[in-house]
């Protein structure tokens, strides 16, 4: 299966090299593409200096549209699957081949690298958000997704189309709900994740609230009319 690992990067000059060197060192059975989302720091320069494959967006468009650009590239180049992979060092490349293997064996359209297949969710504020999203997906699709907010997901070419055609359709939980309702099959593979290597988490309090409002609004209302 021809797989493209998409690494969206916005101002990730501190952690990008470590992430990419780790990815490329164990690279087998997949290609890698960094999406530089109009970074203001040296993200693009690091890619050019080290010869990382780069899709260089001239203006910052955000994760949704940045990831979409990667999916468009994958579709045009005839890839069978894309896998979203964080640039900040949280994701561990040794699980990539397991996720690809999973979709080959189960014919799943989406494979989620899940932190909670075996382990219980801790009771932090963030995990309460995750539970709420799980409950909403369960209520609207009937499917149980243990880790809907995991940022490590594989999408097979069977679900490329909405990413290429719909605006505001990103690698987020509400898109999972949409695709499941359209008949996509989802599998979860247990993975471990690290704390981020450098920089600050994107999700501060106000952004978290905004993220939850957007996700709830999208799953409970918008998705029904798309």
């Amino acid at each position: 299966m021809k797989t493209l690992v998409i690494v969206p990067a916005y101002n990730e000059e501190e952690s990008l090299k470590g992430t990419m060197d780790e990815l490329l060192s164990m690279k087998k059975g997949f290609d890698v593409l960094v999406i530089n989302d109009g970074s203001k720091d040296g993200t693009a320069r690091i890619c050019l200096e080290n010869g990382y494959p780069l899709l260089d967006l001239p203006v910052n468009v955000g994760l949704t549209y940045g990831f979409q650009a990667g999916v468009k590239y994958a579709q045009r180049e005839g890839y069978d699957a894309v896998l979203q992979f964080d640039a900040d060092g949280q994701h561990m490349p040794e699980y990539i081949s397991r996720m690809i293997q999973c979709t080959e064996e189960t014919q799943a359209d989406i494979v989620i690298g899940s932190r909670f297949v075996d382990d219980k969710k801790p009771f932090s504020a963030r995990m309460i958000g995750s539970r709420v999203i799980s409950a909403m997906i369960k209520a609207t699709t009937g499917k149980t997704i243990a880790d809907p907010t995991s940022g490590m997901r594989l999408f097979r070419s069977t679900v490329f189309q909405p990413f290429c055609q719909l605006g505001d359709f990103g690698p987020e939980p509400d898109s999972l709900a949409y695709l499941i309702r359209r008949g996509a099959k989802v599998s979860e593979v247990p993975v471990r994740m690290r704390d981020r290597a450098a920089g600050e988490s994107y999700l501060n309090l106000s952004r978290s609230i905004g993220y939850m409002i957007r996700t709830c609004m999208s799953i409970l209302f918008v998705q029904w009319f798309r």
């Binding site: 494959p53 967006l57 590239y73």
Partner: protein, 115 residues
């Protein structure tokens, strides 16, 4: 509160001011015909209420408003809300177009760069 002389003068002055700004925007080519059309309708409405206060009395009586001035204010607010709604839709549309363009620029540059 009735539509008194002060409110009528205020409406007249506002209509003249809006007309002035619309003409200026058209002269600078910063307005398209449809943009100008909306504001001309808006001006016409303000003029109608200023010149014929009986209109506001009749309509507010018809719909059961306590005072004609309330009716005038509600008309202005309703029209502005509709305009904000359509602007919201336009901005979303433009954002989508801009994002697609940015993606396309990057994809073409990658294609021409020989991967």
């Amino acid at each position: 509160m009735a539509v008194n002389a002060l409110l009528r003068v205020f409406l007249l002055i506002s209509a003249a001011a809006v007309l002035f700004f619309v003409i200026r925007k058209v002269k600078k080519s910063q307005f398209e015909a449809m943009d100008a059309f909306f504001w001309l309708i808006f001006i016409a409405m303000m003029l109608a209420f200023a010149v014929f206060p009986g209109l506001a009395y009749a309509l507010s009586g018809l719909f059961g408003f306590a005072s004609p001035s309330n009716f005038v204010f509600l008309c202005v607010i309703a029209i502005l809300l509709m305009y904000v709604f359509s602007l919201n839709a336009k901005v979303t549309h433009l954002r989508g177009q801009v994002n697609r363009l940015i993606q396309e620029v990057a994809l073409r540059e990658k294609n021409e760069g020989g991967k």
